[in-house]
């Protein structure tokens, strides 16, 4: 009797081993186990409207005080109320957790119905593995496609198919605290790198941290560095040229960018111990009025307006470097994007929901005072809707955008990007020969070329 009770779970486990050995041989790209149905048995019967359907929506908006969190939850609630047979299961994670989780899920072809990916190079491995459903047909419904800014969807398209829908489209700007500038006796915002360095030094001399940053999450430093490179290269396209074999990382433009960046570090621009501060905490240094400037994506506008420095903050374009570059060219940050699993059991229902979600997303964001950096056109006047001066200022910067570059990790493959990120992180803690940095980049690029 004891024995039988003990053996039943064993059967399950033996099945597991067999299943595993099958799976281990079968990671060649096709999902041969599509027949396995969810334990949620109601799911199977297709789309007859009285069947209860669950759609899993993996997202990265856990902080209930942010507009994005509110937008998401309100839209989901509304949709569930309108479609009583549909339940949207929210899997809310923070950014790091979500990245690792999605990669683990991708390995077993178990991508949730809706998930979040970053544009271009970062989503390419998933698209190559055919994990995402093309959304072209869905974009044509209800005129969704026309709501997106022209060209934006290109970052999410491969071979003519759109695979995900962005939650925003931002640019990198320099936020500054007017009060602290005044305290340090700085009248004008810098327009050249020389002025920028002088501003940094003046602030530093007054005991004010010049630039906030949280470099434990190394993308923050890279984002700033890339803006310098955008200038020293005299315009966008450096990384693309490297990938096309027209340039190498040992190009003078890259070396000049490293040198300029190091000048900034040497001038004491960043908080002490920057590499152990995570991105959130780094932002809080600025938002709590302890740092004078913050070079970051325009997505922070809403959060700054909700912080204790609201009303004291302005924004300006990143200066030219050694007379090179055009201030109207920006680091572009097309947002994280919603993608649908190609193996979703309820592909049609999921598409319908995402269509509704994406159509209403800009309106809700507008209501929650988060319309700066939206990737979609939205009716309404910021000023009339009571947006802050900062929001209007940033929105005007958008009107000047002439072009720009994507972040490093959105352009190069992940392995190269990781080398780059830690190489830039290293500049925060020690002076390095810039030729050496260039060499390191080039070696990593060549080693990880497809």
């Amino acid at each position: 009797m004891v024995r039988r009770a003990a053996l039943k779970p064993l059967a399950v486990i033996l099945a597991a081993v067999m299943a595993l050995s099958l799976a281990a041989c079968g990671n060649s790209g096709k999902s041969d186990t599509a027949a396995t149905e969810k334990n949620n048995g109601a799911a199977v019967q297709g789309s007859s409207s009285d069947k209860k359907i669950t759609i899993t929506f993996q997202n990265i908006y856990p902080d209930p005080t942010t507009p994005s969190h509110k937008t998401l939850n309100e839209l989901v609630k509304q949709y569930e109320a309108d479609h009583p047979n549909i339940h949207i299961e929210l899997d809310t994670l923070n950014t790091d957790q979500q990245k690792v989780k999605l990669k683990t899920q991708a390995a077993s072809k178990e991508v949730p119905d809706i998930t979040i990916v970053n544009p271009a190079a970062q989503m390419k491995p998933f698209v190559d593995a055919k994990l995402f459903a093309p959304l072209n047909d869905m974009l044509d419904q209800n005129g969704l496609k026309d709501t997106y800014q022209s060209g934006l969807l290109d970052y999410y398209s491969f071979d003519g198919n759109v695979y995900s829908l962005p939650d925003g489209n931002n640019i990198e700007v320099v936020y500054y605290n007017k009060e602290l500038f005044e305290q340090a006796g700085i009248a004008n915002t810098p327009t050249t790198y020389e002025e920028f360095l002088n501003t940094v030094k003046t602030l530093k001399a007054k005991g004010i941290t010049p630039l906030a940053i949280g470099e434990k999450d190394s993308w923050t430093g890279s984002f700033l560095f890339m803006n310098i490179l955008l200038r020293t290269n005299g315009g966008p396209g450096f990384l693309q040229d490297v990938m096309d074999g027209k340039k190498t990382f040992e190009d003078p433009a890259f070396i000049e960018a490293v040198d300029s960046f190091q000048e900034l570090v040497q001038a004491g621009a960043f908080p002490d111990g920057a590499t152990s501060i995570d991105a959130n905490a780094g932002g809080n240094i600025f938002k709590s009025g302890k740092a004078a400037m913050w070079v970051i994506g325009s997505w922070e506008t809403g959060a700054i307006d909700a912080s204790s420095v609201a009303g004291k903050v302005g924004a300006f374009q990143f200066p030219t470097v050694n007379g090179k570059g055009d201030p109207d060219e920006f680091m572009l940050a097309p947002g994280s994007a919603f993608a649908i699993s190609a193996n979703s059991e309820h592909l049609q229902e999921t598409k319908d929901f995402l269509n509704y979600f994406a159509l209403n997303f800009p309106k809700k964001q507008f209501e929650f005072k988060n319309a700066v950096g939206l990737g979609q056109k939205v009716d309404g006047d910021l000023k009339a809707a009571g947006y802050s001066d900062l929001a209007i200022e940033v929105a005007e910067l958008f009107n000047n955008v002439k072009g720009g570059d994507l972040a490093f990790d959105n352009t190069m493959n992940p392995a190269t990007a990781q080398v780059h990120l830690s190489s830039i992180q290293n500049l925060f803690v020690q002076k390095v020969d810039s030729a050496q940095v260039a060499k390191e980049h080039q070696a990593a690029f060549e080693a990880n070329k497809e």
């Binding site: 281990a24 990245k99 190559d128 920057a274 152990s276 392995a415 992180q425 080693a447």
Partner: protein, 296 residues
């Protein structure tokens, strides 16, 4: 003492449920992981069998790998060196207090706290002077301004700062193990020794030490394996940065697998990690068996 002769079926009932679960969920996955170490695979698609190329890259071409191995072994060494201190404290506790176990339990508390809490706490201790870090604050108030550092971000210091946190956290753990060992030594032995004129440190040298060897070994093995797998602590404190200055084997494995999307390569590192664990455990066992034999 293996005294009971029981039918094979009974043995199966006792052993198989646990063994199968364990083999399927720990052993098989790690074997699969070993196999993945032979692939060039991003973890998503496009697996390609490349034999031992990952290992060649690891040993010959990866500038992060060997330093991370060195840091890991130093980590292990530091944790093991702490144990004699724990033993000494345990002996004192036993000698001077009637109910030393209460104190031992108090020393144990950092072990039960999640690494998230420990990380937050020690970050505020290690913070730079400008952010009000305690350690620097104390140094400044002692007039030792030149001794202040950015403890977690200076590449030459950061790793030692993390070692220290681990030593602090596991002090109570090993002390408790040693303390239990010490209290389990029968009083009569000491009394007999006292008659022969052995007391205090002499008694420790000739009675406590030999009898504590098995417990000592447990502590050493646990400390060794624990520090080889140290992961959460490093992730929370520095994430392996700045620029890999605090990367250990396990964080390097994790970053390679999930950030650089070189899952095959990360698996090769995992293989190496398990192999090192095994090798050293065998060595430690061998060493202690010799030691035990000498004493008995």
């Amino acid at each position: 003492m293996k005294v009971l002769k029981v039918p094979a079926g009974t043995i199966a009932v006792f052993v198989l449920p646990c063994l199968l679960l364990y083999v399927c969920l720990v052993f098989v996955p790690i074997l699969v992981s070993f196999y993945s170490g032979l692939l060039k695979w991003d973890g998503i698609a496009n697996a390609e069998f490349i034999g031992l190329a990952n290992f060649r890259d690891m040993f010959a071409n990866d500038p992060v790998f060997w330093p991370s191995v060195r840091r890991t072994l130093l980590y292990a060494l530091a944790s093991m060196l702490e144990i004699p201190l724990c033993l000494w404290m345990a002996i004192l506790l036993h000698r001077y207090l009637k109910n030393g176990s209460r104190l031992a339990s108090i020393y144990f508390t950092p072990v039960i706290l999640s690494v998230v809490i420990i990380g937050q706490l020690w970050k505020t201790i290690y913070n730079p002077t400008s952010m009000g870090g305690m350690l620097n604050g104390v140094l400044v108030s002692l007039g030792l301004d030149s001794w202040t550092h950015n403890w977690l971000t200076e590449p030459s210091i950061a790793m030692y700062s993390i070692y220290l946190v681990s030593l602090w956290q596991y002090f109570g753990y090993h002390l408790l193990i040693q303390y239990t060992g010490v209290t389990n030594i029968p009083e009569e032995i000491y009394e007999a020794a006292k008659i022969d004129g052995a007391e205090g440190f002499k008694a420790d040298r000739f009675i406590t030490m030999p009898l504590i060897v098995p417990i000592f070994k447990i502590s050493i093995v646990l400390a060794f394996i624990g520090s080889l797998q140290a992961f959460d602590m490093v992730m929370v404190m520095t994430g392996g940065g700045p620029a890999h200055a605090t990367d250990v084997i396990s964080t390097h494995m994790y970053n390679s697998s999930f950030l650089s999307l070189k899952y095959g390569y990360g698996s090769a590192i995992a293989t190496f990690l398990v192999a090192v664990c095994l090798l050293f455990t065998v060595v430690i066992n061998f060493f202690f068996n010799k030691l035990e034999n000498r004493y008995s």
